[in-house]
């Protein structure tokens, strides 16, 4: 993995206290500035695995190294890791949206001026201004998801972990957020996205893992998303655009509708 390695996980397993097996013998690596996806069906252990990778949970077995070291202080990682959990309600526990946005930066000791600059930038993307004084329980699901994302990004993380991040966003906001995340990625932020919805993966990832309790597939996003057999065997369905293009014997297969249309037009 070289000097650019951020996370290196081997033989990771996790069993919940009630005996439920969540993850078994999974591996993962992430380098600086990479965009990686972990896909899998419901209940395949993706969220648990993401929590282990973001140092929020200790694995039951296996080894995990952060920045090449096994024993890294959590405090050190928190300044670099931004985590967007699957349920935005878990992330919004303050009396107002503003206080929720301030929570992370104040915990890691960010200066107020720097936070205010960041807030301006986030406001442009997530349209936060009208929400700042509201209590989180008054927000719609989409608004909660926007605020939860902004909360994780407010610390200017080096790595962003996203767990089903776009489930409640409308198409316009999804596009805007994807553009912003990719801009941050170009500036050096790595991204680890967990999702069962494959349609978003080509836009935010270059490399992908297929997790179904065990790591059953690994490769480029193209390799994973076009492997219909592997996806089917693991309870997932290939993207409709891939299926149609495959039926039309297109080579290489498009992963997005835009690519598909472009390919049809050039034909």
């Amino acid at each position: 993995m070289g000097n650019d390695g951020i996370i290196e996980a081997e033989g990771i397993g996790y069993i919940y206290p009630d005996g439920t097996l969540a993850v078994e013998d999974a591996h993962f690596y992430l380098c600086r500035g990479e965009r990686v996806a972990i896909v899998g069906p419901n209940g395949s252990g993706k969220s648990t695995f993401l929590k282990i990778l973001s140092a929020l949970m200790e694995p039951s077995k296996g080894k995990i190294k952060f920045y090449g070291r096994e024993n890294v202080k959590e405090k050190e990682l928190r300044k670099r890791f931004g985590v967007i959990l699957q349920n935005p309600d878990d992330m919004l526990f303050n009396a107002t949206v503003m206080e929720d946005l301030e929570f992370g930066p104040s915990q890691i000791g960010m200066e107020r001026e720097k936070f205010e600059e960041m807030l301006k930038e986030l406001d442009e993307v997530f349209s936060l201004s009208p929400l700042l004084k509201k209590p989180p329980f008054k927000l719609s699901e989409g608004e909660k998801q926007r605020v939860a994302m902004a909360c994780a990004l407010a610390i200017k993380p080096e790595i962003l972990f996203l767990d089903e991040p776009f489930s409640a966003l409308d198409v316009g906001m999804k596009r805007k957020v994807v553009e912003y995340l990719n801009k941050l990625n170009k500036e050096g932020m790595a991204m680890v996205t967990v999702s069962h919805d494959l349609s978003i993966i080509p836009f935010i990832s270059d490399r992908a893992y297929l997790l179904n309790k065990k790591m059953v597939g690994e490769g480029s996003v193209y390799e994973i998303l076009t492997n219909e057999k592997l996806l089917r065997e693991n309870g997932m369905d290939a993207l409709p655009v891939v299926k149609i293009a495959s039926a039309l014997k297109m080579k290489p297969l498009p992963l997005t509708l835009e690519e598909f249309i472009e390919r049809l037009e050039t034909k």
Partner: protein
């Protein structure tokens, strides 16, 4: 028969209104301009004086002052009264029997105790003034500012952290309770309720909040919480509203001395 659903819904509504009131702390009003430290110290002193007062006059004055300050802070009177009527009402119900113990006078055919009635009125007034005062503080100060001020005032960090966590958990648990109530109502056909149903509901709620508390703790850790609560600290600065508020508190102390001594 027990209507736990209705009770829980009412409690949720009251506490949610209480939480939602923090929106007023962002308005540009008089009390919002007073430094949090001054407000905390002033309110604590006024509450202490109100609860130690032996005459009606001081709690009554404090109540009028709180309402006046709330209006000058652009807090809607309805929201303000809605926030603090429950506690004094509750305390009135608790102490009301004192008005009938050892009855010595008859008023419109009802035998009451003179000293007992005075105690009931004084007690309720004290509670009303104290709650009005604390409500004004919470209406006009962001919770994070209160925490930051308490830390600057050298209140032990463990105590501040406990306060912050209780506040945060209360807020998430209420959301949870509300969701459960909505879910239950959406699947309730007949209005039949039983003690067994109520205990099952309470049990479910307890196990859900246990699960939720883990989720919230993980989310807090994910955002850098390491056991001690930190807030953006704003330097304390003297300003005209703070000095004016100190003047008001000083006048109230003088009035307390005049009425009590």
């Amino acid at each position: 028969m027990i209507d736990i659903e209705k009770t829980a819904e009412e409690i949720t509504k009251v506490i949610r209104n209480f939480m939602a009131a923090e929106e007023f702390s962002y308005i540009n009003g008089y009390m919002q301009g007073v430094a949090a430290e001054i407000k905390i110290m002033g309110s604590t002193l006024l509450i202490f004086l109100a609860i130690t007062s032996r005459h009606f006059i001081f709690p009554l004055l404090l109540l009028i002052l709180s309402i006046f300050l709330a209006l000058s802070s652009r807090i809607s009177p309805r929201a303000y009264l809605a926030r603090f009527y429950i506690i004094p009402l509750f305390s009135l119900v608790i102490v009301l029997p004192f008005a009938f113990i050892n009855a010595d006078i008859t008023l419109h055919g009802i035998s009451i105790s003179r000293s007992g009635s005075i105690y009931v009125i004084l007690f309720t007034l004290r509670v009303m003034a104290a709650v009005a005062c604390i409500s004004l503080l919470l209406f006009t100060t962001r919770f994070s500012s209160i925490l930051a001020s308490l830390r600057r005032m050298r209140v032990p960090s463990t105590l501040v952290s406990v306060m912050a966590i209780v506040y945060r958990y209360l807020f998430t648990f209420l959301t949870q309770l509300n969701d459960m109530l909505i879910g239950r109502r959406s699947r309730t056909v007949a209005g039949k309720r039983s003690i067994r149903g109520a205990t099952r509901f309470a049990g479910n709620f307890m196990s859900r909040i246990l699960f939720k508390s883990d989720a919230v703790y993980i989310a807090m850790r994910a955002r850098g919480f390491d056991g001690s609560m930190k807030t953006f600290s704003k330097k304390f600065e003297w300003n005209i509203p703070s000095i004016a508020y100190m003047g008001v508190v000083a006048i109230m102390v003088f009035l307390w001395v005049m009425t009590e001594l």
